[in-house]
Symmetry: C2
Subunit: 713 residues, 2 copies
């Protein structure tokens, strides 16, 4: 069999331990598919270079071990999300967001829009999802946006080639451990992990084979279809269900295809990213921006990828919300950013490519200024956005101890990309790529410009014209062609290719001898003699008033669903000790929580209900979402229910309220309460919900209330 690299020196050998591999949900080709990995969210990566240390830190903010099954079951029960069309059996990779998830998503988006679009005067656009074939042909998606799949010839089952190889080899390694009597860490059954469940048999392998399997698994992301096919043959990998060897892997394009219009002739795709709509509108956007550079466009919208085997809940789905920025910058002048000084001292957790090359995952913490100065990050504009992404994640409540920026290695990036970093968030599924931030150079605008001829360029009026002296050529067209006959073009090309120095020499020759001789490979004797009747070479003054260039694109690209899921995991914890059943709490920041206030009448006393209704009305006027829970459950139970929804504040209406209008305000995480008159409490809520004050501030301002503490805790 043909040799293919068993170990790619460019990829660290991490994740070889099956236990640390468990959460390795994907497996992204890199050198095999520069296109896709160049745009990180194209192939939403869940990287496998976590290590035990990372996973060991995987506890809630309160130090509890995360029980994902308990959490996910709660999230579904409280309708953060739910499999779409479940009453019809549901479809893999399609999820609906219920009221809680939808509200959370809306608040994340609103924060994103304020943090990026409004703050930086970005030009937001809303482009169509339906995209004609030609656009994605030009962008490269039609040819390269694919995964490798193979088919079981017996039962027709379709397998994702890399997942298949991985599953069988892992099962063999597990069987080997069993045979050796080693402890096998049992992987938890994960209903959303669709990777083929392969039963292991206790068969001892040679030590060399174990090592080889481990090496293959460590770089499973790097194989292309041929290589995966060779692995299947070499190791005789069979589908355990049928005993058959799958067919050789073929590429499967991940774009959903459809036909636009009644003829069925116009092929279209559902976009796998929002970027192309922004690029194709570049000329109009520049015009709208009155030709001012730099500027950015932005877009929030659904994208689609026809995953072969969707899994890991919200992390690998077929329909998802993206928010993307395309920042257009002059490639000359070092890509400076004029607001860089505002963020230069922000410290980021960086995992650079050198570290990864050395097989490590140790992060370093650097101010973004130092990172740019030290050339860890390529340029100021890219660095500016990395810091802004960091601030955004912090603002929405991501646990910043579970964030790192991982640099793409050379073999992960497309040839045209300058530098690329992913903001990865640590979850129980591993390090999840949630935001990509790439310097895509002039690639995108160039390919569309070349294909369509549209002027996707900036014409910069030069304040002082660019004046220079240079040797220029003037042909006597009528005589030049006939003089060289069929070699005319070749000779002309040779002359055009001359340097300024050569031209100066030729000009001298022309003046002195009336002609010059030039080497022209490909013509009769390899030389041509050009007389002064055919050409003039003059030292002229060139004045340029306009500079034309194709801007480079810095592209921060956010997978909202992944951020949302990670946010849930980062803010989830449970309350209650041995006696109690553990009760889930989600500690969203008040700005992000879907519902801000729970209104709880103490009992079903009929005096309470109009007060509750009016309170809701007043909160609405303040733009604060609230819900009334006037069910017959105990106050404690009603609060618990809303702790699961992440509702940060609770207002109790009791008999005292009827008497003097005072209400109690309870904070979700501490379960502490204060009591004051309605106006003061509402003002306190408003201030906390807008982020102007914290609960601690309010505790300093309003008197504590203890009476119902026992029941509420």
């Amino acid at each position: 069999m043909k040799a293919f690299k068993l170990a790619n020196p460019l990829r660290p050998l991490v994740g070889t331990n099956p236990a640390s591999n468990f959460w390795k949900v994907t497996t992204k080709p890199t050198s095999a598919r520069p296109f896709t990995s160049s745009h990180p969210l194209h192939r939403a990566v869940i990287t496998n270079n976590s290590n035990k240390k990372d996973m060991a830190t995987l506890t809630t903010k309160t130090g509890q071990t995360i029980d994902r099954q308990v959490m996910e079951s709660m999230l579904r029960r409280r309708m953060f999300y739910t499999p779409a069309f479940e009453i019809y059996g549901s479809v893999a990779g399609l999820f609906d967001y219920g009221p809680s998830g939808c509200g959370l998503q809306a608040n994340i988006i609103e924060t994103w829009r304020k943090h990026f679009v409004l703050e930086e005067d970005m030009l937001e656009v809303d482009c169509t999802v339906l995209t004609p074939h030609e656009v994605f042909k030009t962008s490269g998606h039609v040819d390269k946006f694919a995964d490798w799949m193979c088919k079981d010839p017996k039962n027709g089952e379709i397998l994702r080639a890399d997942h298949f190889v991985e599953a069988i080899l892992e099962a063999r390694l597990k069987g080997d451990k069993e045979a050796r009597g080693q402890k096998v860490e049992e992987k938890e059954a994960d209903p959303k992990k669709k990777k083929k469940k392969v039963k292991s048999e206790a068969v001892k392998l040679d030590d060399a084979v174990v090592k080889e399997y481990e090496e293959v698994l460590a770089q499973i992301d790097n194989y292309d279809g041929d290589q995966l096919g060779q692995l299947i043959k070499k190791y005789e990998l069979k589908n355990p269900e049928t005993g058959a060897e799958p067919s050789p892997p073929v590429p499967f394009n991940l774009m959903f295809q459809t036909a636009i219009g009644p003829s069925g002739q116009l092929a279209g795709y559902l976009r796998p990213e929002t970027a192309q709509g922004q690029f194709t509108n570049f000329a109009k956007l520049l015009e709208f921006n009155m030709q001012n550079m730099p500027f950015a466009s932005a877009s929030i919208g659904k994208s689609y990828r026809n995953e072969i085997s969707p899994r890991a809940g919200l992390l690998r789905v077929r329909e998802f919300l993206m928010a993307e920025i395309e920042h257009y910058v002059d490639p000359e002048g070092g890509k400076k950013h004029d607001r860089f000084s505002e963020i230069e001292n922000i410290e980021l957790t960086l995992l650079d490519k050198e570290t990864q090359l050395s097989g490590k995952t140790d992060v370093k913490t650097l101010s973004i200024r130092k990172a740019v100065e030290g050339k860890v990050v390529d340029n100021e504009t890219l660095g500016y956005f990395l810091a802004r992404i960091h601030l955004f994640l912090e603002k929405i409540g991501v646990d910043m101890s579970k964030v790192r920026f991982r640099q793409h290695m050379a073999n992960e990036m497309a040839h045209y990309a300058c530098d690329c970093w992913d903001a990865e968030l640590l979850t129980s599924y591993g390090w999840i790529e949630c935001v990509g931030c790439a310097d895509r150079s002039a690639y995108d605008l160039t390919v569309h410009k070349n294909k369509t001829g549209a002027p996707l360029v900036v014409r910069q009026k030069l304040e002082t014209p660019n004046v220079r002296q240079e040797w220029t050529l003037e042909y006597n067209k009528k005589k030049f062609g006939p003089a060289f006959k069929k070699d005319g073009k070749t000779v002309e090309a040779a002359i055009e290719a001359t340097t300024q120095e050569q031209r100066e020499a030729f000009a001298k020759e022309l003046q002195e001898n009336g002609s010059f001789t030039i080497d022209v490979p490909g013509v009769a004797d390899g030389k041509a003699s050009v007389g002064k009747d055919l050409i003039e070479i003059k030292y002229s003054t060139i004045t340029e008033h306009v500079r034309e260039y194709t801007p480079n694109v810095i592209e921060p690209s956010f997978g909202i669903g992944r951020i949302l899921y990670s946010l849930l995991e980062h803010n989830f914890w449970t309350r209650g000790d041995g006696a109690d059943e553990a009760r889930g709490v989600i500690s969203f920041p008040p700005t992000i929580a879907p519902t801000k206030v729970l209104i709880v009448p103490l009992s079903s006393n009929k005096d309470f209900s109009p007060i509750a209704r009016k309170l809701g009305q007043k909160l609405r006027t303040l733009g604060i979402s609230s819900r009334v829970d006037d069910s017959s459950a105990t106050i404690g139970k009603r609060y618990s229910r809303n702790d699961e929804l992440g509702t940060p504040f609770g207002i109790t209406i009791d008999f005292q309220t009827v008497k003097d209008g005072s209400i109690t305000l309870r904070e979700r995480d501490s379960t502490k309460q204060v009591r004051a008159d309605e106006a003061k409490v509402l003002e306190a809520v408003r201030e906390m919900v807008t982020g102007a004050k914290t609960w601690k501030d309010i505790q300093g301002e309003l008197p504590a209330f203890e009476a119902q503490e026992l029941e509420v805790r």
Copy 2:
């Protein structure tokens, strides 16, 4: 040829005048397709029952005639919207929203969310666009969501059958007028009106033929495919380009189809509406709402329809944003609404079905209370939403003199719908259906429940159990069947069908005679004698603790793109007299305008620019979007540019600002200015942008400023 109705008595004969037909962009089947028209936005109707009087009122708020071409060219230039992928030649029916349109859309959506979702505690969901085949098979879309198309056998051109018939007959009528020497009102060339451009020839028709053609055109919406095919044959309608008669019309399903997953086996569609995702989640939503009824779900998202011939700009497109509410209500108790009293005095402009039946389009203005009391509108809940829709349209700045609620006629509604009204907005394209509001009865939940077995029902715990006494039957199963042999089931059915009175009589007979005789049609002698060994009839107590029912759905359904377009037309006007070139203005309410404030430094003096930047920052903190225009254009020109974007306020920074911090505030429509210190002006802007105060209020509070008036006007 077979007879088919040439005039449907249920449809008014309006729009027969070609002049009033011009803007009749579509043509919706009704009786032919009860399904689609039952859900009005399914088949976004542009109704043809406008009349000259309606169109005569078609002026701007300032009384100017609307020049649509001028307006639309401005809207594209200022990037409200633009054909998608224009550099690739664009695709019919796909539009991108630029920064202005995107901002406008976001503000409409935000207002919608506050007005409906937040105000009424609706459960917002975000369901997938991708939907498996089976769901739309059940809902009826797979079989019935279609238009009729035919094909030219010579050149393969695909024609929408109703449009084709319409175009040819209109051309013949026009030719007739020419031949008769009558004045022909020339239709303006409309680049977006894709209806076949048919050249008329001056050929005089018989008077009877003219009448027949006009009748056909008046009800072109009512024909099904067979009927359209018969019209083509009867009138010998040929494609002018080839002279060929098109093939018989066949249905073309308007859903975009795709394949989900790698096998290609799982057919899916892009949803043509957001409703089905809400219905299929009903049981979970009810659970989330703690079993409380009534409640509503809501959804904002893209929907897709593969129109055969998209046209009329944003009004008939293939990808569009919808906002839909599904309000679930108990069918018993008259569908009362407990907040009805809050809106009962709102007066609506109604075009009811009786008026339309009589061939008229005269509207009546009625309070919604009177409309419900008088049974013009079927019930309180439907009426409540009509009034809330009215308030919403008013809030976003729709010209309420160009709004009417048109009731569906019996032949437009599906058999299961109780009542349906469309909010139609008058534009230069005619009356545009922008919001549908239908009482869909229990149809949707019932079909999904029947198909899947999912409990899409409400189980209402009865406070006091429903206790009643009634005569019940108890069979001696072992003996009953054998006693009647093959007639057993028939006899049993006859007994089951008895009334309480009959059973009482039979019970008496049993007691007295030991048997009773019952008529059983279909058995030997038409009677059966049933003895007391076979059956007992007892007077028993029945106690029901739970009532189970399928809720009815009231569905307000908003086409956001259509509302957005109408809003643009309703707020557009031009400023400037003879001397000046007319300058466009869009008078959005401040709450809706995409950008709220334009910041204009008087000149390029370098003292101004830091002030402008700080001002922008302060406005951002207040959540108010602004733009700085520091170009070298005159102040007047810069304001003009932003009048075209509908920016309501302008702040000028001048030398006085540098001295004392005062700034001028200019209002877009009046071009009047006030001057005050920065804090006061910002507070004024905040109050106007949130809708708390009007410009008139502010003029009363802050001193007027006249100095730059001449330049600015």
